[in-house]
Symmetry: C2
Subunit: 134 residues, 2 copies
């Protein structure tokens, strides 16, 4: 797995894990229908609590990014991924505004900020080409 956690971060560990699974889906490193490690084995690999892995999986199941398969266990959503919801847009706008505010105060221009956002989107999509091979 490509998961890298920052145990010193203010961001809860389960959110870091959930974010990185979504990044894995976005980059194509995690394919639709692909089984994830069991809660127990991923917790052991990462050296974190079972509950933390469980919480990350549950959040992503609730949102529809993961599914439970009768035989394979937890798998990446094999069908349609979750759509763009109002609550996702509210989160996106809020978080980008916080970042834009700090960027602006620090003197980053509108075009430099937008360019950075564009590169982030492309980086996420193209991560596979420069990333690990599986």
């Amino acid at each position: 797995m490509f998961v890298e956690l920052d145990l010193q971060s203010e961001e809860p560990i389960y959110m870091q894990l959930a974010d990185q699974l979504i990044e894995g889906i976005a980059s194509g490193q995690l394919r639709p229908g692909e089984p994830l490690p069991s809660v127990r084995s991923l917790a052991a690999d990462l050296g974190i609590n079972l509950h933390t892995v469980n919480k990350a999986y549950n959040v992503l199941k609730q949102e529809g990014f993961l599914e439970v398969h009768r035989k394979k266990g937890v798998i990446i959503q094999p069908g349609a991924m979750p759509a763009i919801t109002e609550s996702f847009l509210a989160k996106l706008d809020h978080q980008v505004q916080v970042l834009a505010a700090e960027a602006s105060v620090r003197g980053m221009s509108e075009s430099a900020f937008v360019e950075r956002c564009l590169r982030a989107y492309r980086h996420v999509r193209n991560n596979m080409s420069g990333g690990t091979t599986e």
Copy 2:
């Protein structure tokens, strides 16, 4: 004050407060050299712990967004605001990538995502015109 806290959020309260003070600076609602409420009075106004306000002020002082004035107490940085640092760029890139990944998985196109980031930047800068008058 325009501060609005979400006590249910996973984001620590002191970070929400720090973020909103930076948004206030970005929009011009908080002017360079302007004094902030004392830790005690802001904590009372917001119904939160003294330590929480103190932590937000300290983070912003360390970064250079706030300063301590001998007579006025804590004030908005009256001189040059903090510059674009490597650590800010790392935070920006990381957080935008997380959002871009989810946007991409949910089917938001590159151009729609970038447009949203542009609007967020403009919203932050123009908040004054549509916002509260002081």
